[in-house]
Amino acid sequence: MSDSTPNSPSDATPGEHNPSNLRADVDGLIAQGAFDRASRRLAELWRRDPASGTASFVTSRVDELRDKLGEKLALTKFKLAILRSFTVEPIVPLLRAEAFAYGIDLEVHVGDFNTYVQDMLDSQSSLYRFAPNAVVLAVRADQAAPELWRDFADLAPEAAQQAAERVVRGYEQGIGAFRNYSQAALVVHSLERPSSPSLGVLDDQSEARQSGLIRQINRELRRIAEGFRGVYVLDYDALVARHGSEHWHDERKWLTARLPIAASHLLHMAREWMRFIVPLSGRSAKVLVVDLDNTLWGGVIGEDGMAGIKVGSEYPGAAYQALHRALLDLSRKGILLAVCSKNNLDDAMEALEKHPGMLVRPKHFAAMRINWTDKAQNLREIAEELNVGIDSLAFLDDNPFEREQVRAALPEVTVIDLGKNPLEYASAVRNCAAFERLALSSEDQQRTAMYAAQRQRAGAEQNFQSKEDFFRFLEQEAELESVSDLTLPRIAQLTQKTSQFNLTTRRYTEPQIAEMAKQPDWHIFSIRVRDRFGDHGLVGVAIAHDEGEQCEVDTFLLSCRVIGRTVETALLAHLAESAAQRGRKWLVGWFLPTKKNAPARDFYSQHGFNRKETNGSGSLWTLDLRSSTLRCPDWIKLKVSVENSIGAITAGGKN
């Protein structure tokens, strides 16, 4: 896109625009060809005035931008079909404007009134021709279960039960057919219970009456959805309840325009759909970056101090604890948390670690940037550190200027708006569609656990007086193996990827490793490490070969995840002991320096080796095995399962 002047005067002073000026701005910027800025202004307009009229304006300008930019429009395309039993047309612009705010260009197909059954059963229907990414089945109880809804008092108990079962079978058939004809996601509205049941309070005295049977249908809907990949339930009954049935409904619009939802709640319907559309379109955030002062606690730690900041179980600190709980829930869904705060590191860490009111602690954060650097820069670094794209970040900050600065510098970040009242912070996070997940993959959860374990180790280390105490506390277990078919790919990968703790940096392919393993004088070991915080997996490799009285270390490397935990000593000690057992007198090895392997520079000297020679490429070190006292540290529980490596490679290498 053409414009690249992020700090024009109008960009630097957010908040001065009233919505009608913003409209003029957008049109002016589009006319100038400044499409990026037009797009940002349009998003700002929608944030400030998310109303029906604004939605019409926003969608018409998104269409204009698409016409002008074509494939260069920086939005994710997504096609949604809505099958319905009521008027949804006025919701569509709201939905498309809301989607635009999440970076999605939403195309919507609306099915005819009450033709949803035919649409799903007929493989040639306009629904399938539209080729949607997702389909919403927005059917209300009056249409899906008319006998239970309208004439319930007429029904005998058995007839009522049968009616409920017929409804469930209908859903089952429709959803089954849909799955045969389409791979699109399907979001099925649950049925709402009547706000005034036919039998009044009597209705609630049995599960077999109106409300109970509708609950039964909803339970069955969940069971059906669980049986199909990509079928989800939207709890419409709970949505109506959350906003209050009497406010949600507008009987006049229902009777005159088949629109059951009051004008003020149409946006809430659109936002509920967005909670499915955002994760389905891949626009979810993976990391939430939070500010500290006046966001995670009330007050400014650098000025108010530990005793002055407000966070705890009583108001006003309770508002911040509610936010903490929302953050912890995200973290349990596999969303990483990170801190970005302008603060003195010591002040902030003291509060995070020691304030009794804090429910979130340093161990919950996968990355931290506590400094006085500009936040956009910190966010870039956090994305890099956590190895995610900038568009995977969400940002939570009470300060509108920080939010605007991040929006201007990094428009792809999901910036969450906070009002002035901290009591609303938790729901701002909970209601953000970017954090919705429709499934929890084991990778998601493992990733969080891995970062958490790493953080816990770092946190624990600080609590110990000596390194040795810390190592004992870690309860490390190492497993030493000779190379096998199972470990060969990982061993080759480590020789190719490891640059820091790598004494010779010799890169080997799988066939090369397999070839070495066939040689009787070559010995290839790998080491796997676990500790009280988690499993590191296979993290170290040593390759050595015997030659006369000496055993020479060809390769010795360790993944940076476990450097400095004495695992390297355990691996080296095993090399020494096994060489001595084979009758060798010397263990020798080169250190070949590179730009990156400084962490391994002093390894041999620290383990009792003597320098024998130095040349242009590096230094050769030797250890007298007859007098060596090199042993595996006693705080590492070492399990050795070494077989003769000859023949262990059954496939004979994959060359």
């Binding site: 009608s20 109303a51 029906s52 006049r252 005159t256 004008a263 003020s264 149409l266």
Partner: protein, 82 residues
């Protein structure tokens, strides 16, 4: 009808019917605004209800024959609510 109510209604109509606000007068109606069909009429009703916090009865909606009438109706409903 006051200028401010009329102006706000006109802005809503400008958004809904996708025409510049300065081309909308109190007399603008389905006859003069091409986009003003039954669905856009519903959208106009909803946007007015949302903006002014009022609820329109079916009889009210029938009276919304032009933009001026919409503004007058809004003011009537607002004063009735006070």
């Amino acid at each position: 009808m006051t200028a401010s109510t009329f102006e706000q209604v006109r802005n809503i109509a400008s958004d809904i019917f996708a025409i510049p606000a300065d081309r909308i007068t109190a007399e603008s109606s389905p006859e003069t605004i091409e986009n003003w069909d039954s669905m856009q009429h519903l959208n106009l009703v909803l946007a007015v209800e949302e903006k002014f916090g009022v609820q329109l009865d079916p009889e009210d909606i029938e009276q919304m024959k032009n933009i001026g009438a919409v503004a007058t109706l809004v003011e009537k409903l607002q004063s009735a609510a006070r």
